[in-house]
Symmetry: C2
Subunit: 416 residues, 2 copies
């Protein structure tokens, strides 16, 4: 096993070296071919996907899980659309920043480069195979894909189609490799290949991410869970606060940047909460409140300690009345996952306090937590949302898939 | 042990939170107080350092190692000068970059923030305690210092003096903590505290770095070994090539960006090497050459395979004649540590090929490899030189000790 994974990693490193000198035009050509072949070979992919669906049914997976697994014509069209978005994005590789002349005349700056070899470990949805492979091609990185066993047939089929494009365009061989071993040890071996792999991106549940973080000797960028809050301040426009909170909770409740907890300043709770709770209940959202919230809206369920700590990813919201901005920030710091946090206020001082002191990947004043997204930020496509502070934080697009190197142009400079 | 380290990590996290809202002026005030107290309490530090020196002598450490350990008045003045340089550097925290308005009117940008809690694991030289602590104070990070057992008394004394400054200025308590447990398990426990510590920086030998990379669940920025090359191209100005190579090898041979191997294009080897070798020999540098080099300069020693792979950190250089730029890059890719690499050439195409294809933290045309240094790059002070591609690559200064968060100013924007 170790030898097999090592071979894959070595081949990826060799491919990555060739990819440093490939032009944007050549990369776009491969992406165009990939888009064409995905359409052309849609039947093949759908047939292979059917095997995974059958297997999932046999295993008794929930229908939600089976739907996440399914690839149909519409799904393939969405993959193709994704590839086309990436073709249109500017190529960050080759940008030179901060070029300056040192006192000795040496001209130094930072040249943006691919990272090298990126390993992606993901679960379930087969479209991730296309998204991540095309982002890696565009950013000039060799990629090693390791999808979940439940979608193995779909992933093998998609990788085959993508590699047909790689071959047809004379792109570096092994730029894109799929590990088709479903044995979990394959992941463990992969995580030790720091000699060859520069970055590991785990995409999936909390358990997968913990496993990767604890076992990887390769730098990891994690996209961990999202436990987000909206804080309605005493100086909020309460109509705006209601709209933002409702949007943050219900616009799509199953995603990481949806809001799970609402915090309300005590001075406006009695005025704000009855309408808010009614709107949630009318929309089928279960509301779980603290004692003060229940005093105002006795018909709702009680929130227990565990609620403050729970990422529902469902039509449920917990509500807590706080005494001031300090208590709100304290609560967010204690329970939040530091992904996406919002305050609704018209107070200048309070808005900046929240911006400065809430330590999250994205912090908003008077806007929905749902905006934390590569597409919304104008990145076109994203690799996930980094919940750590190293390398990049927040939505991760093409720029974040690059590194830099210092370059220096001299005419004989010596160190004194 | 675990509980003790956890307590330290928790306290650091609490301090880091307070540090997010501290002004540059307050940070500079602490640094000034640190500089004052280091001078004032120099005798105390030197006395404590003497204990480490005695212990080192008893243990039979080499005199070079003992010298690295020694802190005298001059050494303390150098520490103070270092602190003063950091006071004068601009504070990156609070910078807002790339502020733009999205089509929906939401104004988003990236606010530069401290990273949070930084753990430094280092060996030997006690001045690292001052350098890293003051860089962390200026960048608003809480720091946990874990020095080597050989300098434990010096480090405890220095940390005490620095903490007197922290206290005197009313700076957040525990912003700066030293782990005074010399037991190696303390490091292992520290590496698992990813809930509290955001970044680990190991500074020391290859073995320490491997241990940290293999055991840390916290992101690591490593400063690994330096095996650097100068490649003299067929189109080089040979006088310039000689000066650069000599400077890169001998200006200070014990550091990571000193050159260990010289590569020479076959077309100029016979003209270039005799003078170069003579100059090295006159300066007491041992030259170990490949067969072709030995044909030209028969008096030198033979290089064996192991030489290409050795970071001498000494007055020794290996020399290889290569057939062209491709073979030079191939050699560098195979044996180099990808830290600092230089080509000497006046050929435009060759210079850009080298810049693009050599995958190192710093790549130079017509300049010495010795320039890869925070001070030389105008960063004032550095935390080390990152030899990895994630987060930052090359010299690591104040900017590299920060992260960013997205901030968004809206007026009721909802996601559609």
């Amino acid at each position: 096993m170790k030898e097999k994974i090592k071979k894959i990693a070595e081949k990826a490193k060799a491919a990555a070296r060739k990819m440093t000198s490939i032009s944007t035009g050549e990369k776009n050509k491969v992406l165009e071919k990939m888009a064409d072949l995905l359409v052309e070979k849609a039947d093949f992919i759908i047939t292979e996907n059917q095997k995974d669906i059958e297997k999932a049914k046999e295993k008794g997976l929930t229908s939600a899980m089976i739907e996440r697994l399914r690839v149909d014509e519409k799904g393939i069209q969405k993959m193709v659309d994704g590839v086309k978005v990436i073709i249109d994005l500017p190529d960050p590789v080759g940008e030179i920043e901060k070029m300056k002349r040192l006192p000795n005349g040496l001209q130094i700056g930072k040249l943006r480069t691919p990272i090298g070899v990126i390993g992606i470990i993901y679960e379930s949805r087969p479209n991730v195979t296309v998204d991540t492979a095309s982002l890696c091609v565009k950013s000039g990185n060799a990629v090693i894909l390791r999808g979940g066993s439940e979608s193995i047939n779909s992933n093998i089929a998609i990788a085959k189609v993508l590699n047909d494009a790689v071959e047809a365009c004379g792109f570096p061989e092994n730029a894109l490799q799929l590990i088709d071993i479903t044995d979990r040890n394959a992941v463990n071996e992969m995580l030790k290949m720091d000699e060859y792999i520069d970055l590991i991106i785990p995409r999936g549940g909390h358990q997968l991410i913990r496993m990767v973080v604890e076992n990887s000797s390769i730098p990891v960028i994690k996209h961990d869970k999202g436990l987000c809050h909206v804080y309605v301040d005493s100086d909020a426009d309460l109509k705006m606060a209601e709209d933002i909170t409702f949007n943050a909770k219900t616009q799509r409740c199953s995603v990481c940047n949806a809001t799970e907890s609402l915090l309300v300043h005590g001075d406006v709770a009695a005025e704000f909460l009855p309408n808010m709770v009614k709107r949630f209940q009318d929309a089928g959202v279960e509301v779980r409140g603290c004692e003060t919230t229940k005093d105002i809206c006795p018909e709702i369920n009680s929130a227990v300690e565990e609620d403050w700590d729970t990422e529902y990813l469902d039509m449920i919201i917990s509500v807590k009345v706080v005494s001031d901005i300090h208590q709100a920030i304290e609560h967010i710091t204690t329970y939040g996952s530091m992904l996406s946090e919002a305050i609704v206020t018209n107070n200048y001082q309070t808005s900046w306090k929240f911006i400065r002191e809430v330590d999250a990947a994205s912090v908003y004043v008077n806007a929905s937590t749902r905006f934390t997204d590569g597409g919304e930020y104008g990145m076109g496509a994203e690799m996930g949302i980094s919940t750590q502070k190293l390398h990049c934080r927040g939505p991760m697009g093409l720029d974040e898939l690059t590194s830099t190197k210092y370059i220096g142009f001299g005419n004989g400079q010596l160190r004194e």
